[in-house]
Amino acid sequence: MSLTLEEVRHVAGLARLSLSSEEEALMRTQLSAILDAVAELSAVDTSAVEPTSHAAGEVAPWRADEVRPSFPPEKALGNAPSTVGTSFAVPRIIE
């Protein structure tokens, strides 16, 4: 298999996903299969090719430096799971 369990755990960490051990094993199998399938791209000669980094054309629109109304507190915080005053509250990071 292309991926080791260590690699699966590392990627899950980067993506902030707390996978169960069943999920880890499933991911390992399925992601390995997908990576094997996409490996065929290495056969394509792209030495003289630029990547398509931007799908839109030559448009480069800028906007004027004007202040627009911000959200009132109900909109900014209305969907928040936890607030203190008008701040979002989150559990602390363990240092």
Partner: protein, 490 residues
């Protein structure tokens, strides 16, 4: 005749003459929702009050002689990834369950200005990742043609709602085929416009360089009219094209005489294509030939790499776009996490379904240190080659014809545990997204089991008008689009 048998434009005319009211039209939709959605399960949320109020406003406008346009008062549905202020917007995900949109996306604003009452929010594969609507966190939608089968995805709810006449038209989004494939499987018309034609502001993002909003309707004129309403430059979207859209209805009936239509051999040679699909699509191409078009064999040699390219680019962009779902400012937050890292991990593990997790993992890996060049960058380069294939082909042909989906609607449960098998549903639709081209699917036949088959028309950038015209030329000589699914009230 039930109002819901009318097309959007036909209804629009009757609303304009006063023969029907928008309230009656909405009530007709709601009546079908009550009778059939228990079986079809297209809707995540029905906004009865809102839709009726919007209908009443449309009727008032008509009385005052100030109708907003040809679609004023025509009820529509929206895939649940369009942010609609004051209404829930879930993107088919548990991580957004309960999220109430604090703003209207641009396309929603345009629809409101056009006066189309919004009946409700439609089911979808979670975060638009899927081809069957089975990845919805809530429930799968069923194909009105055969309730054991999938309507396709990710805009499965939109396709089913239109096919079942629960709405007159709907909007979906298409990143790898998510409008066209469900349109084909559900027997309706679906268009993915050129990338940049329609604003993405207020549309929950899946893959930023591939996502496009498009209309899903029962016939091509409706598709053109709905496209007209939303094809407007948006200063809130930096990828929105600055050009003004042409009049899509003006040349719609112009026919295909003299056009050169390409048949890409890589598409028609695909092993594993259902023989009935092949037969139906080939017959459709010959029908267009009879109508005066010239069929030209073309080659799109990098087609076989489209799947791999897509499944590196799209998940990579998605892994970044979905990082904002972290339980901090909105959406689900897992209970009982004592510290931030645990909160992040549990929230995202609980809130995301398996397919989403899979793609986030794949995308994160493709962008990670040491792998970026071999995976993401490489895929973006092959993407350029795929685009170039089309540019080359369009030197000799005006449009390309192909099947939309290799198979008709498949049974729910059949493919969902085999990701690679599920991904193959999109082989014909993916290249068009990678190249940013407009793509249309129109009904072109049925299998012996009465499952719909779709014909795909791909065009040059910004050439929606021609693509629609080709679809219309085929459509008006046939009546596949007029057949109705055999639904029986529960």
């Amino acid at each position: 005749m039930e109002p819901t048998e009318l097309s959007m434009l036909e209804l629009g005319k009757k609303l304009g003459s006063g023969e029907l009211s928008s309230v009656e039209a909405v009530r007709a939709c709601l009546s079908r929702v009550d009778r059939f959605d228990g079986q079809v399960k297209a809707f995540l949320m029905v906004d009865r009050e809102g839709a009726l109020a919007q209908a009443e406003a449309a009727d008032r406008r008509r009385k005052d002689g100030r109708r907003a346009g040809p679609l004023d008062g025509v009820p529509v549905g929206l895939k649940d990834l369009f942010l609609t202020e004051g209404l829930p917007t879930t993107a088919g995900s548990a991580i957004l369950e309960g999220f109430v949109a604090p703003y209207d996306g641009t396309v929603v604003k345009l629809l409101r200005a056009a006066g189309t009452p919004i009946v409700g929010k439609l089911n979808m594969d979670e975060f638009a990742m899927g081809s069957s609507t089975e990845n919805s966190a809530f429930f799968p939608t069923r194909n009105p043609w055969n309730l054991e089968t999938s309507p396709g995805g990710s805009s499965g709810g939109s396709a089913a709602a239109v096919a079942a006449r629960m709405v007159f038209g709907a909007l979906g989004t298409d990143t790898g085929g998510s409008i066209r494939q469900p349109a084909a499987l559900s027997g309706i018309v679906g268009l993915k416009p050129t990338y940049g034609r329609v604003s993405r502001f207020g549309v929950v993002a899946f893959a930023s360089s591939l996502d496009q909003v498009g209309p899903m309707t029962r016939d091509v004129p409706d598709c053109a009219a709905l496209l007209q309403t939303i094809a407007v430059h948006d200063p809130c979207d930096s990828t929105s094209a600055p050009m003004k859209a042409p009049d899509y209805l003006a040349e719609l009936e112009g026919g295909v005489r003299g056009m050169k239509l390409g048949l890409p051999r890589e598409y028609f040679e695909l092993p594993g294509m259902d023989p009935e699909v092949r037969a139906s699509v080939e017959a459709a191409t010959r029908a267009l030939e009879k109508l005066g078009a010239e069929l030209v064999p073309v080659s799109l040699p990098h087609t076989k790499y489209a799947l791999a390219t897509y499944y590196l680019v799209a998940p990579a962009e998605a892994s970044s776009n979905l990082a904002r779902y972290d339980g901090v400012r909105y959406g689900l937050r897992a209970e009982g996490a004592g510290n931030l890292l645990a909160m992040y991990g549990r929230t995202r593990d609980q809130g995301f379904g398996l397919e989403v997790k899979r793609r986030v993992m794949l995308g994160t890996y493709a962008l990670s240190a040491g792998y970026y060049d071999a995976y993401y960058l490489k895929a973006q380069k092959v993407r350029t080659l795929i685009k170039q294939d089309f540019t080359d082909a369009f030197r000799t042909v005006d449009a390309v014809l192909a099947p939309t989906s290799p198979t008709p609607a498949f049974r729910i449960g059949e493919k969902v545990s085999d990701p690679l098998a599920m991904y193959l549903n999109d082989v014909f639709t993916l290249p068009c997204n990678l190249a940013g081209l407009p793509g249309l699917s129109v009904p072109c036949g049925f299998t012996k089991a009465s499952l719909p088959i779709g014909l795909q028309v791909l065009g040059r950038p910004w050439d929606e008008a021609r693509v629609l015209r080709i679809g219309r030329a085929f459509e008006r000589e046939h009546d596949f689009h007029r057949r109705t699914p055999p639904l029986r009230a529960a």
